[in-house]
Symmetry: C2
Amino acid sequence: MSSANTDTRTRILMAALKLLEADDGSAVRMSDIAKEAGISRQAVYLHFPTRAELLVAATLYLDEIKDIDGRLAASRNAPDGTARLAAYIDAWGNYIPEIYGVARALLAMQATDEAAKLALAERMQAVRHGCAAVVQALGNDGILSPDHSAEQATDILWTMLSIRNWEQLTIECGWSQEAYIEKTKVLATACLVSDEN
Amino acid sequence: MSSANTDTRTRILMAALKLLEADDGSAVRMSDIAKEAGISRQAVYLHFPTRAELLVAATLYLDEIKDIDGRLAASRNAPDGTARLAAYIDAWGNYIPEIYGVARALLAMQATDEAAKLALAERMQAVRHGCAAVVQALGNDGILSPDHSAEQATDILWTMLSIRNWEQLTIECGWSQEAYIEKTKVLATACLVSDEN
DNA sequence: CATGTCAATTTACACAGTGTCAAGCAAAGG
DNA sequence: CCTTTGCTTGACACTGTGTAAATTGACATG
């Protein structure tokens, strides 16, 4: 039946997420996921033809659970460009640690697997669209730095908000999540908002 | 003989670098390197016990060839903090594309291989030291932004100059190398240099 | 009740890539 | 001439992914 089908599929995804959120995300094997889900390794392949597709499905499932769309959408209600920038950094920046385990596995896979690469690129493009909207709002307020075109400003914000940068600042440099958020707001403002005022 | 030994070892490293600089760096296998060097796969293992150690040796060899130390040292002669920041971004930023192939392979390996991870971390710490020196110079000139401690400023510059950011801006966003260098200078200045003056 | 279907199982296997091991060979140097 | 050094060939173990075939158990429908 379709519901039992969905249950097993969901169990696999939950098992994958649980393991990916543990310390070493990239080392999760199909057999580990199967064991965690309480089914055979081959049964996993009945639901997901490849490891890459399982990981992609896991990220989509995670987005659904965490309601990333709703959280990012909240930043669209901010009254002006500056508030919108801050709200977007809050929403996305605080989302990163929740998806880091899965993202890390996907990030590692993209080096070798084309499917993983495309899936990740697609998801990152969604973030880029959010950045473009923020830049647009800054432009509408007339406070976008004249140093950059809208396109360049989007590239800059998108790069500042990359998962890799979050990883480097929090995990490698030891910044707290709060410090990361606050500093990123300050830096993004310094880079994108014109200072005459 | 020791010289013949060194010759073969060097041939292996040159072969590895040649392949790693080609399009898909992470897919270079031990057998590919052996073939390129004109020796058997097993002979490679006589010189390098693991793939990770070969890659690490390749980066060290590349640094030697490209004289990274000399190039980074040049920035130490800059007259003031601002010039030193610009010189450092010039030196390191223009070095990145030359080592990108090898760096990418090492970056991909660090997800699974502890040796690769440590080697890369060590090399990146060298860059971080350069960043710390630049921040120190800015501090001596009294123009370091009061928003950040010296440590934080170092973390920020180091993160801005990461290979991942170069990759995202030039390869994914399509910026030219010149644009990357110029923009990075502007952004680093906006983030680190206090604007009262 | 018989039949078909569908999920999942077990077992087995193909394949790629890393790393190990053993035997042998060719050249240089005492 | 004999030993050492550097490399070769060939075989093999191991891990992890993905494929395939035969089987079981549940359940629904004629």
